[in-house]
């Protein structure tokens, strides 16, 4: 078993890399029709490997598996990559969302399928690399790979909206790059190392016990940088433009997982390293409140289906930040589970957007109405996604939010816990509006002949709604499992 476990981490690097090479080695005209299937295959492989790895690692009782690519990691001080339960769970989420995206892409992507597959692999590699990294600089490099792949994915169809969205994202990301690099430089200046093992609140304060003002500056810069990447308020303005203008298969990737790996995972690392500093956790929590409120309030007034979904992502990232800020194992578990449940319900919602766009040719919700009758599967899937997002039990989103609330309460942040609870009524509000305008309200006679979508999008909607509901229904079992492996 141990050898399987030691082999699994290589999958996350090798699979996208080999697929990338294969995709370019085979002549384009022959690869064209298989490129999206190849992407889906890699995603499915990653999903399976991550599930297996998680189960094996949890059963083995080891904290992490270290590995190097072309070097030995046994020597003292050697750099290494690693997977632990947190990163395996997030790798699982990456695989899951990537699969949902590939299923949608099979229908929505017509041109440049090979380029899509190339960028898809690059994006996967970037996110996997971030999750495997054990020092801040490697993390940063893979973050840039993730970002670059995302820009091109948004802009590749050269629509004016897409170019505008990508440009906005690029500009904001450049700002994030400057902040992060400066922050890293300041930290490096102080500690002489950026490996996770050498960093920590104690390392910053040094022998005197007083922390240098520059270290505070470095942390503030890093937090701001990741906040931009996560689309946290007040740095959220690029996100709806970028996510709305991309092809829906790309929006699923961006909203479903990229903001969480590129942004929220950064906060997980920061809190893990510097969580002893109250100021770090407090700033993450403050970002969380602002993000939930801004995202939800702005989602209330949008009229474009994908824009509502994008603002909803902003808002939900706030909950994830809350869980991380609590700084306790329970909070982290809640945040990670919310990454998963958000990945599931947001992929559902965007699959719905893809279905509506394919069938109606528009995503303006003012023009829709009563589509439940024409598109029962899409309608039902969007209801499961709404209920999971609004934290209505027994859907998956309820349980992850509940754990986050409990962890906030245990951390002594009763006011924040109450705010998180109160703001979730806004989630209900914008989704009720969406439901009313699109599926539930009076029928618009213009769409009398519209039919339900078929093929992979329909299949992915069915599977995703089953995940929204099933993960929630099985949650007591999940809790028992987490308890048995000692996570809560």
């Amino acid at each position: 078993m141990s050898s399987i476990l030691n082999g699994i981490p290589y999958v996350f690097v090798a699979a996208p890399l080999f697929a990338f090479i294969l995709n370019n080695a085979v002549p384009r005209e022959r690869m064209r029709s298989h490129a999206v299937a190849l992407s889906g295959g890699v995603a499915a492989l990653q999903l399976a490997a991550a599930i297996l790895g998680f189960a094996l690692l949890a059963a083995s009782g080891r904290g992490e598996v270290r590995f190097g690519l072309f070097w030995s990691v046994d020597a003292a001080g050697a750099a290494y990559l690693r997977v632990n339960l947190v990163s395996l769970f997030l790798l699982l989420c990456v695989g899951f969302v990537a699969l949902a995206s590939a299923l949608t892409a099979a229908k929505t992507i017509d041109d440049h399928r090979c380029s899509f597959a190339n960028l898809f692999m690059a994006l996967l590699l970037g996110m996997n690399g971030m999750l495997l990294a054990t020092d801040l600089f490697t993390l940063y490099v893979f973050l840039e790979i993730t970002g670059t792949a995302s820009f091109v994915l948004i802009a590749m169809y050269k629509s004016s909206k897409g170019l505008e969205g990508a440009f906005k994202y690029l500009t904001m990301s450049a700002l994030a790059t400057i902040m992060m690099l400066t922050g890293l430089a300041l930290l490096f200046m102080h500690t002489g190392s950026l490996a996770f093992a050498d960093l920590g609140a104690a390392a910053l304060s040094g022998a005197s016990g007083e922390m240098d003002i520059l270290c505070y500056g470095a942390l503030a810069l890093l937090i701001s940088g990741f906040a931009i990447k996560a689309g946290a308020a007040p740095f959220h303005s690029w996100l709806p433009d970028a996510h709305q203008s991309a092809d829906t298969a790309v929006s699923i990737l961006l909203s479903g997982i990229v903001i969480k790996i590129a942004g929220a995972y950064g906060f997980i690392v920061l809190v893990e390293l510097f969580g002893d500093l109250y100021a770090v956790r407090l700033s993450v929590a403050a970002l969380g409140v602002a993000t939930i409120a801004f995202g939800a309030l702005l989602a209330l007034v949008q009229t474009h289906f994908k824009r509502i979904a994008a603002y909803s992502s902003v808002s939900q990232v706030g909950y994830i930040l809350f869980g991380i800020a609590a700084g306790s194992p329970l909070g982290l578990v809640g945040a990670l589970l919310h990454v998963f449940s958000h990945a599931a319900f947001k992929s559902t919602l965007f699959s719905g957007a893809a279905a509506l766009h394919e069938q109606l040719g528009t995503l303006d919700i003012e023009q829709m109405g009563g589509l439940q009758k024409n598109m029962p599967v899409t309608g039902f899937a969007s209801v499961t996604s709404f209920l999971s997002a609004a934290g209505v039990p027994p859907f998956a989103g309820f349980w992850s939010k509940l754990l986050i609330l409990i962890s906030l309460w245990q951390a002594g942040w009763i006011g924040l816990s109450a705010a998180a609870l109160g703001l979730s009524i806004l989630t209900g509000a914008y989704f009720l509006r969406l439901q009313k305008k699109v599926f539930f309200g009076p029928r618009n006679p213009r769409w009398d002949d519209v039919k339900e979508i078929g093929g992979t999008i329909r299949a992915s909607q069915i599977v995703l709604s089953a995940v929204n509901l099933g993960a929630g229904l099985c949650f007591p079992l999940v809790l028992l499992y987490l308890q048995s492996i000692g996570l809560i």
């Binding site: 039990p393 509940l402 009720l432 029928r443 007591p476 809790l479 028992l480």
Partner: protein
């Protein structure tokens, strides 16, 4: 231990509901029969767990989970009483629906949501854990949302959203209260928390949820607005079953589990008194047949809340009996209103009149149900109201008892006015037809039940007394 009976009682309707749309694609007849069978099954399972509950050894399953969560279903006397009441009335309403909704779209969803709602109700009354209580609570709100918006008109969907929004906002505040309790006790399990003295702020938070669900002033306005729903829905959700969730939660949490500060033995009856008088006044002025009955529901719910919060045996037993009596009688009233409105296509009572000639059976059923709600002996409503007011006197609040007697008088007034405007006077719709035999049979059955329960009041009465002892 036959713990599987309460489990089946919850799971059969919940899972069965999901099969209904598929059955409906095959044949509407099979779907309708299955829907009725599922509700009847819930009733049968509750009946099966009655003997053990009476013997004081309720059937139960309990599974411990991490973080102070637990999954438990216990069919104690209170749960069985509520389950029997709701599934019985629901079964009649389902039969009525066969005739009422047959010409509309979205019937598959309709039956699914009705049965799902009954499943949620069964779960809610049996559960032993605050989080699962919240879960079933929200599930019922979701069903309510879809059902109010059944006609898919702009106004219907807007009102559905309003009902959902108000009750869910209330429930979230309640959840905050639950979390507060959890922070102090480390558990969500009701049995583990028995006798825990609850701080006042937690009571207030939870009361928000209860008042919003049971449509009590000042969170009552969604209920009259929800009259845009089809009448069987109004009857099921907004008279017979859903609105009882709040008062049930009061009994389960504040009487059966926690010890709450003294002040609430006065504060809650005062809120109830305000709610009763205000809504009775509104009922007197309303001209929409369903609005009148809906305001009457708000007013009668105040009676139930008063009884249950009185802290005396008479009051508590009266409150419970009124849950039953009101479910039957008010359910019947809404169904009668449905027959009238379905046939004459208006809800404005000023345009009606003389319908007793055209709808003789409906008029009789309406009169009998109205008599029960008014509290006229020997109907079941009389005994319940009498006990509630007696309980208020026993608790030493003669003034509040007097207010409620005024409320009862107003009930007589507005129901008599409604009956006169709709059924008496010169005939306004000479060609109106009374509806299908199933619909008429349903209202007659409920009216007969309202009378029969009054004659045999000692049966539910002794069960209610047993519940009080078990508290």
């Amino acid at each position: 231990m036959n713990g599987w009976i309460p489990v089946l009682c919850v799971l059969v309707p919940l899972l069965g509901a999901c099969a209904l749309p598929f059955a409906g694609k095959r044949s509407p007849k099979i779907r309708n029969a299955l829907a009725l069978a599922l509700v009847a099954a819930a009733f049968a399972f509750s009946l099966a767990s009655l003997p053990a509950a009476l013997a004081g050894e309720p059937l139960a399953v309990r599974v411990k989970l991490p973080l102070g969560l637990s999954f438990g279903l216990v069919a104690d006397a209170l749960a069985v009483f509520m389950a029997l009441t709701s599934s019985l009335v629901a079964a009649v309403i389902v039969i009525y629906s066969f005739g009422y909704v047959r010409e509309y779209d979205n019937q598959n969803e309709y039956y699914m949501m009705v049965v799902l709602f009954i499943g949620a109700m069964m779960g809610l009354v049996h559960t032993t854990n605050l989080i699962f209580l919240y879960m079933f609570w929200e599930l019922s709100a979701v069903c309510c949302w879809r059902l109010i918006g059944f006609y898919r008109e702009e106004i219907a969907v807007a009102r559905a959203n309003k009902a959902y929004f108000v009750t869910v906002a209330g429930a979230l505040v309640m959840l905050a209260g639950f979390l507060g309790i959890y922070a102090q006790t480390g558990t969500f399990d009701l049995e583990a928390m028995k006798g825990f003295p609850l701080p006042a702020w937690a009571v207030v938070l939870i009361l928000f949820g209860i008042l919003s669900k049971s449509a009590t002033f000042p969170l009552h306005s969604w209920l009259p607005d929800a009259g845009v729903a089809p009448s069987p829905v109004t009857s099921l959700l907004h008279a017979a079953v859903l609105v009882k969730i709040g008062v049930f939660a009061y009994a389960r949490l504040f009487v059966g589990t926690f010890v709450i500060p003294e002040i609430f033995a006065l504060a809650v009856p005062v809120i109830a008194a305000l709610s009763a008088l205000l809504s009775a006044g509104l009922a007197l002025r309303a001209n929409d047949i369903k609005r009148v009955i809906a305001y009457s529901t708000v007013s009668q719910l105040a009676f139930i809340l008063l009884g249950i919060s009185s802290g005396t045996e008479e009051g508590f037993v009266g409150g419970l009996l009124y849950i039953l009596a009101h479910a039957v009688a008010k359910g019947g009233l809404f169904l009668c209103a449905g027959i009238v409105e379905h046939s004459v296509h208006t809800k404005d009572i000023t345009k009606m009149g003389g319908l007793a000639k055209r709808f003789p059976l409906t008029a009789i059923a309406f009169a009998l149900c109205a008599a029960s709600v008014m509290g006229i002996p020997p109907f079941s409503g009389f005994f319940a109201k009498y006990l509630v007011i007696d309980g208020m006197l026993a608790a030493g609040h003669p003034l509040l008892a007097a207010v409620f007697i005024i409320g009862a008088v107003m009930t007589v007034l507005y129901l008599a006015r409604l009956f006169a405007k709709v059924f008496l006077g010169p005939p306004a719709f000479p060609d109106a037809k009374e509806g299908t035999s199933g619909m008429v049979a349903s209202v007659v059955a409920l009216a007969a039940l309202a009378l029969l329960l009054g004659l045999a009041i000692n049966l539910p009465g002794s069960l209610a007394a047993l519940i009080w002892e078990a508290m």
